[in-house]
Structure formats: structure tokens, C-alpha cells
């Protein structure tokens, strides 16, 4: 078994806004080992990006964070800024969901890669340039030498995303926090990028937390998957178990809303209703109001994560009433 490289314990994030508090992350616990890929999926707005950004302390100033984020035994949430800066971008790197929010618009891509290399390696100038060209090539950007001098706005959406992946990999991180790293990529380049990342995972033991909405990507790349809903983890386990035998009603509903082999142009089946307001902590199970399996206690008592198979935990009172899924057909 892997020893966990990263342990996130009871992470909570609350934003203070002019209109009150937003409880974006509400007690999230998970760990990732070297050479392991953990998928993080869940409803839009459920707190995946906030969870990821909390790990290297990259949240807005209006965020209050509690819990522990243990990295080699030290708590990243409390170590001094100086020490954190040495880790961030180096051992722990991040791919942001929206490249334009993370890239510097007035700095050529090449210089943004160079900054990481200067900070976290002792390469000389020539070696850094060679490395930058090599990195762009690895993420499938042709004419890399010319592209290094271009600015983010001169790249396509997917090229920006790949440039950011190149920046994140520049210093050979031990942990990659990848927030929707391939959403702007076509399937063939996505395939190439995932192959590259999995190679780093299997050959260099890189650990990865991969946030994605693409359940096919989860099935193809992750060892384990964690499902989030309204700031909480509702289910975690080995990918095959979670997909074939979901133990949380939200996971079950999510898997059902995928476009399958139904008639083209037919209406899809989204989960009815809206996620709960998160301006005050939600009592009971946050999914209960939309859940077709809900029973009275679901709205009052918060279910705790319970094991249903080794490594497969879920926080759902209906866990044993959910149907096993029949094998999914192809796309």
C-alpha cells in the first residue's frame, strides 16, 4: 500500500461576503499516495476547485480555512509563507480551471515557464530555454521555439490550458493538483496529455488529484474517485466499484444523467431541482431535497461516511437500497 503523501483532514472553507457567509467546503477528508491518481467529481459549484486551491493556500482573501493539510508531516495551512512558497510550484503544482485567471497576460509564455525553472531548479539560462521548448513539445504545441515568445491571448483556449500544464510540470512536482486540465482539449490531444500525466505517475511516482466532469476520463485514469456535493464528500472508493455499485444517491443520479445511447435530440435526464443554499450549514444530507430515495431522517440527521466495501465509503442512508448499474455501453 502507498503511504499517503498528502492528507487532507476535515477541511472547511467559508467565504465572507457583503451578503454573509458562503460555506463552500464543509468537512472534507481524503488522502493521496505517491503514484496514485484520485479523481474528484461532483456538481458544478460543489467546492472542488475551492478544495484544491485551499491545499497550497491559493484562495481569495475573503476565505477562512480550517482543518489540516499534511504534506510530509507538515501542515501546509500553518507553515510560514516562506516555506510554502518553496513548495508551491515546485513539489506541489497546480493546473487551474481557467487558464486566463492563472496566466499573466502581459508576460510571454516562455517567461512564465522560465520563472518556475528559476525558482525551483538550478539550471542555467540555456538549459532553461531547452527545457521550456521541450515542455511545450510534450504538451503538443508545435513550433515551440516561436510559441515561447507569444502572449497568452495569442494562444487558443486549449493551448493556454496546455501551456499551464507545461508550467505546472516544469519543476517535476511530486503532487499535481489538476483542476479540469483537459476540458479545452479535443479527445486526441486529451489522450496525449493524459498519457503524459499517467507516465509521470507510474514512472516518477507523481501523485495527482484530478478534478473533472468527464466520467470517461475518470474511468480511464483514476485509481480512486471522490464525489462531492454541496461542499461535502458523499462517496469515495475505487473507480469501478463507485461506477458499478454507487452507494450514494447523488452518485447514482449523476451517472444516470450522462448522455448515453438515447435517441439523438431527445431530452436528457438531469437531476431535478437545485443544489441547496450554502449561506448557512445544511442540516441532514445536502442532497435530500432532490433525492428520490430520501426518508424523513435524511433532512435532519447528517449521514456519516460508512464503509460498504474495503476502501469504498459513502454517506447515504439509502446506500443499500440503490440499484447496481448495468454495464454502460460505449459512447
Amino acid at each position: 500500500m502507498n503511504t499517503p503523501l498528502l492528507q487532507v483532514q476535515d477541511l472547511r472553507v467559508t467565504f465572507t461576503t457583503g451578503r454573509g457567509a458562503v460555506h463552500a467546503v464543509d468537512g472534507v477528508t481524503f488522502d493521496v499516495g505517491a503514484g496514485e491518481v484520485l479523481g474528484l467529481v461532483g456538481e458544478s459549484g460543489s467546492g472542488k476547485s475551492v478544495t484544491l486551491r485551499a491545499i497550497p493556500r491559493l484562495l481569495h482573501d475573503n476565505a477562512a480555512v480550517s482543518g489540516r493539510v499534511l504534506w510530509h508531516g507538515q501542515d501546509l495551512l500553518t507553515i510560514p509563507d516562506e516555506r510554502l512558497r518553496a513548495i508551491r510550484g515546485g513539489q506541489v503544482a497546480m493546473v487551474f480551471q481557467e487558464p486566463m485567471s492563472a496566466l499573466n497576460p502581459v508576460l510571454p509564455i516562455g517567461m512564465q515557464i522560465d520563472e518556475v525553472l528559476v525558482a525551483h531548479t538550478d539550471m542555467d539560462r540555456a538549459a532553461r530555454r531547452r527545457r521550456a521548448i521541450e515542455l511545450l513539445g510534450l504538451v503538443g504545441i508545435a513550433s515551440a521555439a516561436t510559441r515561447l515568445d507569444q502572449y497568452p491571448h495569442e494562444f487558443s483556449g486549449g493551448m493556454r490550458q496546455r501551456a499551464m500544464i507545461a508550467i505546472s510540470l516544469a519543476a517535476q512536482p511530486a503532487l499535481l493538483l489538476a483542476d479540469e486540465p483537459t476540458t479545452a482539449l479535443d479527445v486526441t490531444i486529451q489522450d496525449q496529455i493524459l498519457t503524459l500525466l499517467l507516465q509521470l505517475v507510474s514512472e516518477l511516482g507523481m501523485a495527482m488529484v484530478l478534478v473533472t466532469h468527464d466520467l470517461g476520463v475518470v474511468a480511464e485514469t483514476c485509481d480512486r474517485v471522490a464525489v462531492m456535493y454541496a461542499g461535502r464528500l458523499c462517496e469515495t472508493g475505487p473507480v469501478e466499484l463507485v461506477f458499478n455499485r454507487p452507494r450514494h444517491a447523488y452518485t447514482d443520479a449523476l451517472l444516470r444523467s450522462m448522455p448515453g445511447d438515447g435517441a439523438a435530440g431527445a431530452m436528457l435526464t438531469p437531476i431535478p431541482g437545485q443544489p441547496p443554499r450554502i449561506d448557512s450549514p445544511v442540516p441532514g444530507c445536502a442532497f435530500a431535497p432532490r433525492c428520490s430515495y430520501a426518508e424523513p431522517r435524511c433532512t435532519t440527521e447528517r449521514p456519516v461516511l460508512t464503509a460498504y466495501a474495503p476502501g469504498h465509503d459513502s454517506a447515504c442512508y439509502a446506500a443499500t437500497r440503490l440499484p447496481a448499474r448495468v454495464e454502460e455501453g460505449a459512447a
Binding site: 458544478s44 483556449g157 486526441t188 486529451q190 485514469t221 473507480v239 450522462m258 448522455p259
Partner: protein, 329 residues
């Protein structure tokens, strides 16, 4: 009936030249983002545009709404020359043709609340009476499944997928007849995505909305588009009815693309390890497009003739056009 007709549109971006380039007399390079694209969008249809990252989809979309002036070619909307529109006619065009941008973060004003952004769209085009603006804003937010209190919040207070839906609400606000949506649902989980797709399908059925849908999600393309155009390095290589094209793709690039869709199947990870890369070989650069068919350096069935001339987009004995000299019937 044709709503939007595109004829031979090209867009190139000159590359910056460094001092060394100038001194050594190197010729000025250009990124050939869109090359000779001709396409029609029919009233009431959903046309999908797919293709490799960087192949020119967003640039083409921006040409369609006149955010970029094409270097060559013509665009006609309801018969009128879009590139010559002025004054009221141009404002009218701007209302009826809306774009949902690929990058919601960059396309929203960070200093305006979401409510103000939507209200602005509503008032610029005088879509509803002033007194009805707040109610309409709430309605729009509800349509895209954002909470009502979203109106008072600023863009940075939302998740990526929530911001994406703000962009969709803004496009819908002015009740356009054509929406050009650039990856509009890429940041949404499958359930919210299903709601938004249903919303588009409903608007299409009720109001005859026409959609140009740029996406990398082939499952979605298959589900919701009537026709699909496949782009490769700035050009359209195949365009046809979606169901038929997915069942029997004609261009070798389309075939590779459809093969590479990840499957949500048990043991998918094992399958992936044993699978060959979908497309191999040197990636093409729009700074130096390969001669002839741009796909030939990576094409499994290429012949010497493929490097000679750019293949025309023609029927070639089939039911829809394809730009490949190796295809017949």
C-alpha cells in the same frame, strides 16, 4: 433555408518578429488560423464544429460575429453582407447573433455584478421595459440554474461552471435568433450540462433558435447537433449529417477523432494502457502548415499525391463532402 452563409473566409495572425529575424531577413511568418472556410448554417438547426485544439474554431466563431475582420471571404446573414453592416443594421445584427465565449473568466467584467451585466444586455437592446428588468434577470438566472442571489454577486465569487452559465444567460438575454456557443458547457457536470442542453433544445423547438455549437465533447455533438463540421488546421475536412457521419466517418482525421473518445466502462484503464495513441506523428503547426493536405504527415493512408495539393471539400461519390483524395464512395 440558409440563415448564415460563409464563403472562403480566411484569418491569419502575423507572428511577431524579433530583432534577429529582421536582421537575418527571415520572411514574416503568420499563423494560418482559418483558411478558406465555406459553410452554411441553416435556420433552426444545430451545427456542431469539432476539431483539434488550436485548429481555428474560436477564431472562426469570432469572425462570424465580426469580432475579427476576416482577411478574405464573405459572410452573409439573412442575405445581408455582414462585413458591410453599419449603424442600426449592425446593432440589429449584434442583437440577433450572440456569442457564448470559450473563456467565461475573460469575457465577464470583474467590476460588475452579474445582475448588472445582464441588465446592461437587456437595456442596450431595449429587450424589455425598464421596470421589468429585475424580474427578467431573475428569470434568466433561473433558466441556467443559478440561485436568485447570484444577481448581487461578482464574477470571482462563482465557480468555473457557474461563470460559464452566466455567459449563457447573457447570450440568451437579448433573445437572439442565432447563438454561436464556443464550448458552452465544458465546465459543467453531466447533470447541469443536461439541463443546459435541454434548455437549448427547448428554445430551438419553441422559438426556432439556430445554434452553432463548438465543442470537444463528441458525445454531446452526437446527441444534440443535426450536422457537424470537422476542422483540421484551419480548414473544414468533412461536413455532414451528424448521425450518418458518426456511423461512417469518411475523413481519416474524423475516424481517428471518433476512435479516441474515452469510454465510461469498467476496466477502461486497462483498455487505455493497451490502446495505441489515436493519432500519432508530428503535430502540425499553423505557422508552417504542411504542403498539400495538412493531415498527411499523420495520416495512416497517405500517399505521395497527398502532399501535392490541398484537397477540395467535395462529395467524392458519397452523401456529404470530404476533403481527402483517398476517399471514394
Amino acid at each position: 433555408m440558409t440563415l448564415l452563409a460563409v464563403e472562403g473566409v480566411s484569418k491569419r495572425f502575423p507572428a511577431r518578429r524579433g530583432l534577429v529575424d529582421v536582421l537575418s531577413g527571415r520572411p514574416r511568418q503568420a499563423v494560418h488560423a482559418v483558411e478558406q472556410v465555406s459553410l452554411e448554417v441553416r435556420r433552426g438547426e444545430t451545427l456542431g464544429i469539432v476539431g483539434e485544439s488550436g485548429c481555428g474554431k474560436s477564431t472562426f466563431a469570432r469572425c462570424l460575429v465580426r469580432l475579427y475582420e476576416p482577411d478574405e471571404g464573405a459572410i452573409r446573414f439573412e442575405g445581408a453582407d455582414v462585413l458591410a453592416l453599419q449603424g442600426d443594421a449592425r446593432r440589429n445584427f449584434n442583437r440577433h447573433v450572440q456569442m457564448v465565449f470559450q473563456d467565461p473568466y475573460g469575457s465577464l467584467n470583474p467590476r460588475m455584478t452579474v445582475g448588472d451585466t445582464l441588465a446592461e444586455a437587456l437595456s442596450v437592446h431595449a429587450v424589455v421595459a425598464r421596470a421589468q428588468v429585475p424580474a427578467r434577470v431573475r428569470e434568466l438566472l433561473d433558466l441556467v440554474h443559478l440561485p436568485a442571489d447570484a444577481a448581487e454577486r461578482y464574477p470571482h465569487e462563482f465557480s468555473g461552471g457557474q461563470r460559464q452559465r452566466i455567459g449563457i444567460a447573457r447570450a440568451l438575454a437579448v433573445e437572439p435568433s442565432l447563438i454561436i456557443a464556443d464550448e458552452p458547457v465544458s465546465a459543467l457536470d453531466v447533470s447541469v450540462q443536461a439541463s443546459i442542453v435541454n434548455l437549448f433544445l427547448e428554445l430551438q423547438a419553441r422559438l426556432g433558435l439556430t445554434l452553432v455549437f463548438i465543442t470537444h465533447d463528441l458525445r454531446l455533438v452526437k446527441h444534440m447537433t443535426h450536422r457537424v463540421a470537422v476542422m483540421y488546421l484551419g480548414r473544414i475536412v468533412e461536413v455532414g449529417p451528424t448521425a450518418d457521419l458518426f456511423a461512417a466517418p469518411r475523413h481519416p482525421y474524423t475516424q481517428a477523432l471518433i476512435r479516441a473518445v474515452p469510454h465510461v466502462k469498467p476496466a477502461a484503464r486497462e483498455a487505455r494502457r493497451n490502446r495505441q495513441a489515436a493519432v500519432t506523428g508530428e503535430l502540425p503547426s499553423p505557422l508552417k502548415p504542411p504542403p498539400g493536405c495538412a493531415f498527411h504527415p499523420r495520416c495512416p493512408i497517405a500517399q505521395p499525391a497527398c502532399a501535392q495539393a490541398v484537397p477540395a471539400l467535395e462529395d467524392r461519390g458519397g452523401a456529404w463532402p470530404v476533403a481527402c483524395i483517398r476517399v471514394s464512395g
